[in-house]
Symmetry: C2
Subunit: 408 residues, 2 copies
């Protein structure tokens, strides 16, 4: 009899898998440059107006349990955000606050997934999508973000996969289709035209659409972001968002789910997720007020986000520029989020695989990055382009030099 559950085998975070090795180096007095955690607040201070609101909430005694789905002020602010930014008609009751998108995903899978159920996940994927789904007994039905098409969605491929499910009379076991826009780990912003096709696919197959849009305001290099909510009117869909990236407050651990549609499916899912929220009673109450202010104070937010995005744009482009000049990798230039996912040209390199590569980068160059296989994309590696430019440039320069060293 095994002590641990079967599902436990799926619980593992490749982004942090080198933490123990990195700590060992640090104990030997070696400085490790961490380009693995997508944590803007580590590099850009969380805007003061949000900290002020947080402190106000604390000083005025808002340290009790809040409404399980979030304080009204936060849900009002979120509903208003979607109304004014995207003309998405959501009421405060269509918003459920969660402890980051992590909790939102857990609620979603727990609410929808029985053993053997499927969810459409596109590769490369953010790690939790698959592990969390599988922990609840689900199996991914993989779609493809196509590297040859700038990591956009391979529409024919997923259409084909769903056709197969339909023919096998198993289409109603496909519980949701999850897209990430802008994308982690590819840094791609999906085009409106592509989103429209995704909505068509969801409709044709009666699948609930879920869009992780946590990076929605971190868009650059001329790209334009479209929310699923703008093109999915009438289609059951859920938007995941939160404080971590756009509001530069990872350590608040604050997210939310938006259910803009009033159809039967959306309402059933929303009502059950209220039960899930009630089960864990409350979120961190003062952080809810801080995020409410983060969203509502548009003037301060616009200033903060524009400053941050202009830095991110420079940093992502600098990383791309440096690596572009190396023959052993190819890289699609990102236009959203703050990740770069270069491909290792394995035939040109004396390394075994991407896992081997990131270990060498850590041991020889003392830089922590993440293997692409952790995102379902072997032969790639992910760099977080958030460190200050000098530090980032120097580190990526050393990765580039290592690549040259290992060329055949």
């Amino acid at each position: 009899m095994a002590l641990l559950s079967k599902r436990s085998a799926f619980i593992y975070n490749p982004i942090l898998e080198e933490d123990d090795d990195a700590a060992r180096l640090e104990r030997r007095g070696i400085k490790v440059t961490k380009l693995n955690r997508g944590d803007p607040a580590y590099y850009f201070p969380t805007p003061k107006y949000m900290i002020d609101a947080y402190v106000d909430a604390l000083r005025s005694g808002k340290t009790y349990y809040s409404d399980s789905i979030g304080v009204r002020e936060l849900r009002d602010a979120v509903a208003d955000r979607y109304g004014r930014t995207y003309r998405i008609n959501a009421s405060p009751d269509d918003v459920i606050a969660t402890a980051g998108i992590s909790e939102g995903l857990a609620f979603l899978n727990s609410a929808l997934i029985d053993n053997g159920d499927r969810a459409v996940i596109f590769k490369p994927y953010y790690v939790q999508y698959v592990s969390n789904l599988m922990a609840y007994g689900g199996r991914p039905l993989f779609g493809i973000y196509d590297e040859n098409e700038g990591w956009s969605i391979h529409l024919d491929h997923i259409r084909g996969e769903l056709r197969k499910m339909k023919r096998a009379s198993r289409i109603d076991r496909v519980k949701y289709m999850l897209i990430t826009n802008p994308n982690n780990p590819t840094g791609t912003v999906l085009k409106r035209k592509v989103l429209e096709e995704v909505v068509d696919i969801a409709n044709e197959n009666g699948i609930v659409l879920v869009s992780d849009e946590i990076y929605d305001e971190i868009v650059y290099n001329g790209a334009k972001f479209t929310s699923v909510g703008q093109v999915a009117k009438g289609t059951p869909h859920i938007i995941l968002h939160g404080a971590s990236k756009v509001f530069d407050a990872t350590g608040f651990r604050m997210g939310y789910m938006v259910f803009p549609e009033q159809d039967g499916k959306s309402k059933v899912i929303r009502d059950k997720i209220v039960d899930y929220a009630r089960m864990r009673l409350s979120l961190n109450t003062p952080a809810e007020y801080a995020l409410a202010e983060g969203i509502s104070n548009r003037k301060e937010h616009d200033k903060a986000i524009h400053g941050m995005v202009s830095h991110i744009e420079k940093r992502v482009n600098r990383v791309t520029d440096i690596l572009e000049h190396n023959d052993a990798v190819s890289v699609v230039r990102p236009n959203g989020a703050f990740y770069v996912l270069p491909r290792l040209k394995m035939s040109k390199l004396r390394i075994k695989d991407d896992g081997d590569f990131i270990k060498r980068v850590l041991q020889e160059e003392h830089i922590q990055i993440t293997r692409g296989s952790g995102f379902g994309s072997p032969g790639h590696f992910r760099i977080v382009a958030l460190a200050p430019e000098g530090e980032l440039e120097e580190a990526v320069g050393r990765i580039e030099a290592l690549l040259t060293r290992y060329m055949r």
Copy 2:
């Protein structure tokens, strides 16, 4: 094909089930007295020294992701707390911070429970124990807190239940035994002698012992609290605790698990729960620093907890006194936590059941309490004795009058 998963049927919080009805009354301008939420921070301001530490963390920019298992300062403080208070030898690495005990329970069940596995839960239970277990495919093996023995553990009964499991060769499917001390909803502090027997039972059957001790410093009426860690040396066990009750900071949503033992089982579970923690990246970082200070600053904490407990003692006793004089209920006087769980003498009352009773209390007296059946204890109701004495006395007086009105 059902839209929702089967496990979703178990996700439901009876403590909050009248929230919508209460809100309806409030919209009609009626004041509802809420004696259903065990939220001390709603009535007693969270101590200022903890708020100050929280503000310091915010002002000094600690708003990025923390170490997934908690910042070192918090884990140091927790380890020290257990060393000095209970002589439990835990290192900071034996501590994993969680988003309240709710998350600790979810980690535990997710890590240990496969379909059909069992966990020993004693009735009456805190609601999440059973729903969370069942959501992960587990089934409770019910023990009994015996009302006739002051809600202490019915040791012979659970010995018998486990003997049956052994005979059926299914004892290794019993993954853990969970006790709550001091207890929610009964308000009982377990005697050291009883705990020693519980440890023997765990040892005889090779079952990991889990003790929810969230109320450990809220003890009165002459009772003395013993931690499982004081009597379980050599037995694999896990202690659950956190900021919510003893540190009067429910809205921080901050808890922790302590793994004091170094045996193989404890280590395997601890290591896997580290993976679970890494999967959701981080907790609310500044709240971790606030709790670290909450624990470390013993002088301020002692002052705060003594003040709060002396109020709670008076309030719990007052509720008990009032109800004791009514022939339609019987009540065991609590000596820990802040709940009172009276038994309705159904034969003397013109009411259908405890659910019917609490509905009448809400509709006729505008007081929100919780039905005992929500804790696996039909025919009882739970009162949270935290409201200011005047308000509490007045409300419980009205419940008592309602009881008299409904007497046969």
